[in-house]
Amino acid sequence: MRALAPVVDETLSRDGVVIHYEVYGSGDTTFLLIPPAPITHSRIWKAQIPHLARRHRVVTFDARGNGGSGRPTGLADHTRAENVADVAAVLDATGTSRAVLVAHCHANWWAIDFADSQPERVEALIAIDPGVPYLGTPQPHWVQTAATFDDRLEDPVGWELFNRHVIIEEHRRWVEFFFDAQLVEPHSTKQYDDAVGWALESSGSVLVAGEEGIELDLPGREEFVAMCERLDLPVLVIHGSEDVCQSPEKGRELAEITGGDFVLIEGAGHLTMAREPVRVNREIDGFIDGKRRVEARARTWTRGLQRPARALYISSPIGLGHARRDVAVAKELKKLRPEIEIDWLAQDPVTRVLKAEGETIHPASEWLVSESAHFVSMTNEHNLHAFQAIREMDEILVANFMIFQEVVEDGNYDLVVSDEAWEVDHFWHENPELKRGSHVWFTDFVGYLPMPSGGDREAFVAADYNAEMIEHIARFPRIRDRALFVGNPDDIIPETFGPGLPKIRDWTEEHFDFPGYITGFIPPAPDEIDGIRDELGFRDGEKVIVVTVGGSGVGRALLETIIAAYPLVKDLVPEARMIVVAGPRIDPGSLPEYPGLQIEGYVERLYRHLSVCDLAVVQGGLTTCMELAAARRPFLYFPLEDHFEQNYHVRHRLDRYGAGRYMDYAASDPDSIADAMATEVGRQVDYVPVETDGAARAAAQIAELL
């Protein structure tokens, strides 16, 4: 899912070439983001758009040759003049009289040319890894390969792949080589996959036409330098020190000639806005705000000793389980430190729980992009490839981190508690100078594990993610002041982080504290059960089976299969009564009906049903399964297919408690499900007891930081 949808998504046509453009957000200032094409398209700005669009109007377009724009192959369609005319056409089509231009690589050339010809329409120029002619020194590999570009090479390798025939005939090979060379930063697999994917939306012939079309109306050196010198506008140049496409000296010289600011990102390659999105976004903010500092505004600074103790709590919105355990921890923390003020930066569905509990939700919460909606969008029937869903969430994590960071910088928080708030932990390690307050990190699993369906590539990528996390913690132990594993060392799966990497358990025991499991509720005592069953309308002698798939809207396929097993289980166990809870996102009326089968929409305090039922049938989410384990109920659980956490981490933990019966969704049919239900319903269980003091123990460890 995109972090932000455009408000305008249109095309224009110029001399028969279609140009696709988009507009996001609104504001007095318009940013025009210009991608270099045909090698890439407007999605290269995905980490900037949601952030900039919160305060400004953002226009972007696919430059000719890629994305939603045309793919002309004539050289005359790719001249400087045509590319610059596209910039003007997009500004015209969007009714933009004046804009801040942000351009990457050779798109800066078009931006500078446009600013020179229509200076009144350009407020400022932000040049990222600029690829402009003549300035600096060209990378030697470009010079060398230019000489053999048209030759048919025997066995081209390395930069020799920059060759007309290779690019046209083996487009993917060139593209993969090129972006592998550009992404010099370790752990750049996501940026690599993105960049290669976008490049492959175009073709080798278009790419070659783009390379050669530029040559048709190349300005002379003096002409180009004079153009730069004439630029009478604020300029910011951002350049990666290890850029092997455009040497950083180009950027430095451009800044010198234009009198602009130069920001060198040490260690970064050619795709700084994708690989260092937080730094780049903040540099853009600082540059734009800097021009406006004289505007009158009112702010308050509060003396240190006058500040109340404050915590910002970020609870992962993926599933409702985090909300309940985090509320339990917060309540215990307030018992220890009654004076503490806790704000929650949270999104639906967590906010529903928080509102019901009377917790304070930070107003910036409404700006957050929904991670829950992203996960739903990645789910298909009973399948959720959770690792890939997290990976595809990269632009949402950047967008939400930028909001989080503003909140912590404004809020004087002493403490940040992040319960699987990946964006906080990841980007604070990536940008350690941004850390504010003490940081408590919560998680209930450690280590991404590849699924067999992901093949070798996923095995490599998951290990790479784990390796990056291990390096983060080794290099910056100060970012996590406390790391709390929700559970016990025995709950950790006996796997490694990947080839050549540590064992997950060893590493986790070294780097985490273990407050035990945190249920967020106290299961009924044995002598309370009959009373609750009575209250809920369970009749004597009935064997009540509760079926639930959580609140996410994922799970209709599972519900339908289980409903099909209802008449079968009724034959085997005549005293069975089945209650199916569809949840808030599935219309109960849309499910098949049987006489005697009870279908409910939303059930308030569902955990009470679960804690006294004779059998529960659920998905493989940790929270619900552990509630059932704590309540000592028999249950069947169906992990979502390809969900590494449910299939590996959760299953291992449940095995440790001896709790629940694992069901393979793909291998199950109504008959086998009915058999399993008949065997399990009402069974006396011998689970390892689940501790009930986890929240208090976690809170005690957090309180030490206050």
Partner: protein, 288 residues
């Protein structure tokens, strides 16, 4: 030891009075730190000078009656316009066409008047807890101040010590009382010691002469006439000039306002870090 010694110091003749000034560092724009009520002298900028002078030329000087400047007991010397004339003389002496002008308390009044009378010399104005005359009366003080020249009660308490005769008899006691009001934050002993020390470098008689100065210009007229960018900084626990005076000034001047929650009347001394950062940000922001 001072954290930063002046690079150079001197005296400039302002209408026959020698005004002592000091210059620190280099760099545009020049930042002129104005004097305030005579009970303090230019050392009250000690938390700002070392920091600001790393990027700018910083100029401080003393008004008539304290610090390096000659003690004058001529009330005319203390008129707002005479104070402005001193500031202009110092700018001339250091060869500064214009400056970012920073005023504290009474210095706020001088700075605003300077921006009105000499707009070409003031590129921007920063006013810390300024006494612009826009605040509401202070009930515990102002009725007593009406009786400033009358005899004081037998055992004066609090603001009853704001009295010409008491100053002549017990100026040191007044200074101790007054600095307690200025530094109202807990744990302010160092600032209080400094303030009392600076106060005791002049006399009650000089302060009394200042009280006989010609009337100040109309505060609303002055504030309305300021056209340069203005930053106001004011503590919410200011027991000399209430914070609300700067709220009003921000409206009249269209100025930025940094509210210092919990700070008293000497925020630049008691909470120097946020004040310094705000000065730096504002000075850099108004620099072309």
């Amino acid at each position: 030891m001072r954290a930063r010694e002046p690079d150079h110091h001197g005296f400039v003749d302002s209408d026959g009075l020698d005004i002592g000034y000091e210059v620190f560092g280099s760099g545009d724009p020049t930042v002129l730190l104005l004097p305030t009520w005579t009970i303090m002298h230019a050392r009250f900028w000690k938390m700002q000078v070392p920091y600001l002078s790393r990027g700018n030329r910083v100029v401080t000087y003393d008004g008539p009656g304290n610090g390096r400047t000659v003690r004058s007991s001529d009330p005319e010397r203390f008129s707002t316009d005479a104070e402005v004339a001193n500031a202009v003389a110092v700018l001339d002496a250091v060869g500064a066409d214009r400056a970012v002008v920073v005023g504290y308390s009474d210095g706020g009044k001088f700075g605003a008047r300077m921006a009105q009378l000499h707009p070409g010399r003031v590129s921007a104005l920063i006013l810390i807890a300024p006494n612009l005359g826009l605040d509401d009366p202070l009930p515990e003080r102002d009725p007593i101040r009406e009786r400033f020249f009358e005899p004081y009660p037998e055992n004066p308490e609090g603001w009853e010590k704001f009295n010409a005769a008491y100053w002549r008899d017990h100026y040191d006691d007044f200074a101790r009382f007054f600095m307690g009001k200025v530094f109202s934050e807990p744990f302010s002993t160092k600032q209080w010691d400094d303030g009392v020390g600076w106060a005791l470098e002049t006399t009650g008689a000089i302060l009394e002469a200042e009280m006989r100065r010609p009337a100040d210009p109309d505060p609303f007229e002055v504030a309305s006439a300021v056209s340069c960018p203005v930053l106001l900084i004011h503590g919410t626990d200011d027991r000399i000039i209430p914070h609300q005076g700067s709220v009003r000034a921000a409206e009249v001047m269209g100025a930025s306002l940094l509210t210092m929650a919990g700070s008293g009347h000497g925020a630049h001394l008691r909470d120097p870090i946020p004040v310094n950062l705000a000065l730096r940000e504002f000075i850099d922001g108004v620099t072309p």
